[in-house]
């Protein structure tokens, strides 16, 4: 699986970024401004003479942490609310699902923009905000799984025997509902990384001088006619990362949930 390969390589790269980086990502050297790629600076330097490769490696750590933390938060909220809605049904379900409808109605990016303005743009807030605005799909998914699993005989039997709801939800239903959640979370990481880089690109995400692929690209945009490498490296990195998670998600879907992949056809 290409997807898994890309993802593993990226995780390793960002874990070992401090070791691999040839330079301090913040170290400026104004005598070396906007140098094209060379033997000493593989990916060239930026407008302050900082080494782009080192900044890219550290930027990768940011992307990765945004992906995981944001999806972690949305998993937490999505699973909780979806499980409660699907398991208990009735007015609880109605309340939660109507809330989801309302949240879905506000264009997510405007919501994010609003929250960023209120909370201020920085790495921590971005992770939380992306997490807070991306749980709706997951909660629907979990709810649907719960609705169908709840009808199964063994769950009905457990309920009749008086097993506490809490135990039924976490021990008996959740493990069986995890496959689609897992798949969706993988796609979610791709989405979160894309979103963070977009926001950082527009100056609403991770703030310089902290390197992130998005804000390196902003510099790339400003110097697009003079320094193509500043546009190319972050763009390709974001693309490959997001592609990797999307491919991984697709591969997982084929493995975990065969009924979702395309079927055959009449000749």
């Amino acid at each position: 699986m290409i997807g898994a390969g890309i993802v593993i390589v990226l995780i390793l790269l960002s874990l070992t970024a401090p070791v691999l980086s040839p330079y301090d990502p913040q170290a400026q050297d104004l005598s070396l401004r906007l140098q094209p790629p060379s033997a000493s600076h593989w990916l060239g330097t930026d407008e302050y003479g900082r080494d782009v490769l080192s900044r890219m490696l550290y930027g990768g750590r940011i992307s990765l942490s945004v992906g995981f933390v944001a999806v972690g938060i949305s998993l937490l909220i999505g699973i909780m609310l979806g499980a409660i809605a699907g398991y208990f049904g009735g007015w609880v379900d109605q309340l939660i699902m109507r809330t989801v409808d309302v949240v879905l109605c506000i264009p997510t990016l405007f919501l994010i923009l609003m929250l960023i303005v209120f909370l201020g743009p920085n790495l921590f807030n971005i992770m939380v905000i992306i997490g807070l605005t991306s749980w709706t799909e997951l909660s629907r998914l979990v709810r649907a799984e719960f609705l169908s699993l709840r009808q199964r005989d063994y769950i009905q039997a457990a309920r009749a025997l008086g097993v506490p709801d809490f135990i039924i939800i976490f021990k008996h239903i959740l493990p069986n509902a995890l496959a689609p959640v897992f798949i969706s979370a993988t796609f979610g990481i791709a989405g979160a990384i894309l979103l963070e880089s977009g926001l950082s690109f527009l100056g609403l995400g991770v703030q310089p001088p902290t390197p992130s692929w998005g804000n390196i690209l902003t510099t790339g945009k400003d110097y697009i006619t003079q320094a193509w490498w500043l546009t190319l490296s972050p763009g390709i990195s974001i693309f490959l990362t997001v592609l990797g998670y999307n491919l991984l998600g697709d591969g997982l879907r084929d493995v975990l949930d065969p009924r979702l992949s395309g079927g055959e056809e009449h000749a």
């Binding site: 109605c105 264009p107 919501l111 527009l202 790339g220 009449h266």
Partner: protein, 286 residues
Amino acid sequence: MHMDMNPNVSPDSIAEMKKMYGLDKPIPVQYADWVGRLMRFDFGRSFLDQRPVIAKIADRLPATLLLSGLSLFTIFILAIPLGVYSAMHHNSKKDRFITVFTFVGYSIPAFWLALLCMLFFGVILGWLPISGMRSVNHDMLGAVDKFWDYCAHLILPVFISAFGGLASISRYTRSNMLEVVRQDYIRTAKAKGLPRHSVYYLHALRNALLPIITIIGLALPGLIGGSFIFETIFSWPGMGRLAYESAMNFDYPTIMGIAVIGAMLTLIGNIIADILYAAVDPRIRL
């Protein structure tokens, strides 16, 4: 709020502003007032230039509607044939090629693609304008040239903002087609001796389109929300760019107004999708 932290604002003017925005009243009253005003589209005045927010939005809305409408249209006319084609050549080389394209489409950061296109078509080739809605000399052009000027300015923004949707809708069309093609009524259509094209483009596609209509309704918030990225990149004078400018200037009333209008547009879009759905599915009566 951020103005409390801004050392350049004097305490007097803070008090004055608090009064102006009703911040001196008790919180529940403030909240009720605020919701009531939102309902009446009274979003107050912009912090930035004191103009009524609704007027600022009204100025910018047509440009956004134009851009989103055209993107939606582009998605429709390109993605659906692509998905159908891919489904009809299921598991062939062509299908795999389209699948690769759709994965690239999902994964490529649209703002980066925008940069590359601006560089290539705008700077290197010089074929297309890369920012704004009209050229500097627009007012001096004749009617026909004016029209072409608009078109030229629209091409890149429309293409870029349609790109992501293109990939996902064509993928979705493909999987829907594959699902529909397995249905009994498709087998009936073949057994009746209908030619292949009417089996696929009439019988299968009509059924595969039903969920696509809903999906497009659901995709609308993304498109409208995404406008703030694309409009900012292309300096498109729409609501999305207004949102960005307001965010950069902490202009809360304007952002709030834009979010409400955005939600309203989404609602309208969903209602239209529901009506369309009912129009193509005879099992549903409004």
